[in-house]
């Protein structure tokens, strides 16, 4: 990495796949798509609200990790949101219609579409700006809406593979052969036989790890260790749970930019839970899947199904005495990185810390943490694109890199598979002498069998 690279000169590095609709009369197509979305959703009311409330105080910008790195106005959340809100006002409101005729405000141009596609993917969608906005303007939502429109136009980052992909593709009901290897690893570690449940009806939880499990040849050693640790926790606390073929697949990328992908994901989660007669959906160390499940399962008829994160489960298991990590097992200074998807709403902030305090001798906090923590730079699906690594580590991840450096920690813990990937690249590109591990990966070292 070239340390002399200036932040503002770094392009996001994101390349787009395009469809015939994406070239030619882009502005017209953008408006067609926007109109279709407004017709069938309740987003118009929300845009009316946010369009009236913005005060241009600049607070969102001063609290945005990308803007703080570049100082480029294109990275200002309220300016970016305004790109979409101005289009909305001009083309979809009465006042915009009148203003256009009286004041001659110009219509949307193809260059506006280009600017939206360029800037909306420089945003991590971490919602820190939303949290800090005194008027409550939801810049994260506006970013999502812009990406949804672009996606329907066929303008999707190439790294997301397809505009919309069904999140779970597995059709086989066969128990995976690699489960015996998992059971063998558990036996070696805990000294007794295990039978990991698969397609078990009537269990309390259906468990969706959300990340690659490693045992099937997909994913890296860290993900394999994380999966082993998550299963260890469930097995050693006597959890009533089950896997299914679809629950073992990692979640897709469509949720970052398309409502249909989000809805399909939520339906699959609910469908699997109902099919197995489970009362709860348990999500592993994948913060994006956890947030999607929490937010959207209710929208597709899953209100009666509770969504729980493995972090909450493990923290509760410690409180109830079912899990007793060995104190002091980790003596190095560790720091916990809050994944935006689960921490920004205040949902999961304390449970991971409560877990870590039971076996880590020295847990330190970033200067800004919890709900207010800075994004690692990989959020919003950006980490899936290796082509934008320079942008992610030198620009979007700069605040986090500075926090890590000043903490003096030797181990950084991230309870999200995507954060871990981003943090590993961040640590490498900023030459930080730190190890990046998953929370359960580390907890595994402190586990003893109960009973």
């Amino acid at each position: 990495m070239n340390p002399e690279l200036k932040s503002e000169s770094i392009d996001s590095g994101i390349s787009f796949s395009t469809s015939p609709h994406a070239i030619g009369n882009r502005a017209n197509r953008f408006l067609e798509v926007f109109a279709a979305i407004l017709k069938h959703t309740q987003y118009g009311f929300v845009l009316d609200h946010f369009a009236a409330l913005g005060t241009k105080c600049g607070r969102c910008s001063s609290d945005c990790h990308v803007y703080r790195a570049t100082g480029d106005l294109h990275d200002s959340p309220c300016r970016r949101s305004d790109l979409l809100l101005q289009v909305y006002r001009r083309h979809f409101t009465t006042s915009g219609f009148l203003q256009a005729r009286v004041l001659g405000i110009r219509p949307m141009l193809d260059s506006d579409v280009d600017e939206i596609s360029r800037t909306f993917y420089r945003c991590n969608s971490c919602a820190r700006c939303t949290l800090r906005c005194p008027m409550g303007v939801d810049h994260q939502f506006i970013n999502h809406l812009g990406r949804y429109i672009l996606s329907e136009m066929g303008l999707v980052p190439a790294a997301f593979k397809e505009p919309v992909r069904a999140p779970f593709q597995s059709k086989s009901a066969e128990r995976p052969t690699w489960m015996s290897e998992l059971e063998l690893d558990l036996e070696r570690r805990f000294g007794r036989k295990f039978s990991v449940p698969f397609e078990r009806n009537g269990a309390e939880y259906v468990f969706f790890p959300g990340h690659e499990v490693g045992y099937d040849g997909q994913g890296d050693h860290s993900e394999k260790q994380t999966f082993l640790a998550e299963v260890s926790v469930l097995e050693n606390t006597g959890a009533s749970y089950s896997f299914s073929p679809r629950s073992l697949e990692p979640a897709g990328a469509g949720g970052f930019h398309h409502d249909l992908a989000i809805e399909e994901l939520a339906r699959e989660l609910v469908s699997e839970a109902r099919r197995l007669g489970a009362r709860k959906i348990l999500i592993g160390e994948c913060a994006d899947l956890a947030l999607s499940a929490k937010r959207f399962v209710g929208a597709v008829g899953g209100s009666a199904i509770k969504v729980e994160s493995i972090l909450e489960y493990s923290a509760n298991a410690i409180v109830s005495g079912k899990l007793k990590p060995i104190p002091g097992v980790v003596s190095k200074r560790v720091i916990y990185h809050d994944p935006c998807s689960i921490a920004r709403t205040g949902w999961i902030v304390e449970p991971p810390r409560n877990i870590l305090r039971t076996f880590c001798s020295e847990l330190v906090e970033p200067r800004v943490h919890g709900q207010n923590g800075f994004c690692c730079g990989g959020c919003g699906g950006l980490v899936l694109d290796s082509g934008n690594r320079v942008f992610r580590t030198q620009v979007a991840g700069r605040e986090t890199a500075n926090e890590l450096r000043s903490s003096g920690a030797k181990v950084v813990i991230a309870s999200c598979v995507r954060c871990r990937k981003q943090l590993r690249e961040l640590v490498e590109d900023h030459h930080l002498e730190m190890e990046v591990v998953g929370l359960h990966e580390l907890l595994f070292k402190a586990m003893r069998e109960i009973g």
Binding site: G58, R79, A299
Partner: protein
């Protein structure tokens, strides 16, 4: 001048006040109706009212923005103090209350004169500081619209004229002129309130509800969008 002053203080004020009340009420009603519409269409109709109200109160607590690593502390503090003055002085200044009493026979407790004076000067000072801070901050300066530049000076000037009305010896203008300027400025602000960001005074309480329900998917909406765009076979 007397006739003009009577017009300004009488029919014109009533007209401006009516525009403000009706306009702001309409905006509030529109917000509430929009929320209701959104929740009716949403697939998940569960409403954590107490949670949302807590979050709303949290964000309306001005000191919330002083924590969490904010880097615009001076702007935040100035804004808090500015809003305290802008809200309390027009409502609790004794001179204004006497006008209501004369017109409608209603009154309420007033601020002590010294407190009203202090708050007025505070509003003028912090309002001026906000203008300077907007000028001095790149992102605020470059994203500001006409109303962002005009509203705060309008308010500051209105408060300055109000202060001079209370201390006529200090005013370089005659009493009548000071009255007319002060009342006209207030009337302009009242009339534009529903159409500018001043509307946040009635819409802000709905902001967290809007943000919460923004993410409530309408089941099947995305499929309808695809169908409308003729893309249903492309999935």
């Amino acid at each position: 001048m007397d006739g003009f002053m009577e017009l300004v203080r009488g029919p014109l004020f009533r007209f401006a006040f009516t525009i403000a009340v009706v306009g702001l009420a309409a905006q509030a009603f529109q917000s509430a109706a929009g929320l209701l519409f959104a929740i009716i269409r949403a697939g998940d109709k569960r409403v954590d009212v107490s949670g949302i109200l807590w979050r709303t109160a949290d964000r309306l607590n001005p000191f919330y923005y002083l924590s969490g690593g904010s880097s615009r502390m001076l702007y935040t503090i100035s804004s808090i103090l500015f809003h305290i003055g802008v809200v309390t002085v027009p409502i609790f200044y004794e001179g204004h209350i006497r006008l209501w009493e004369r017109a409608l026979d209603v009154s309420w407790p007033a601020l002590p004169a010294s407190a009203a004076d202090g708050l007025t000067l505070l509003t003028i000072a912090t309002g001026s500081l906000l203008i300077i801070l907007r000028l001095g901050n790149g992102e605020a300066r470059k994203t500001s619209r006409i109303q962002d530049w005009v509203l705060t000076p309008f308010l500051v000037f209105a408060f300055a004229m109000g202060y001079l009305l209370g201390h006529p010896g200090m005013s370089p203008f005659g009493l009548s002129t000071t009255i007319v300027i002060h009342v006209l400025l207030a009337e302009v602000l009242l009339m534009i309130a529903p159409f500018t960001k001043i509307v946040h005074c009635v819409m802000l309480p709905f902001a967290r509800f809007a943000s919460e329900w923004t993410w409530r998917l309408v089941p099947g909406a995305a499929a309808h969008v695809s169908r409308t765009l003729g893309k249903e076979n492309q999935r």
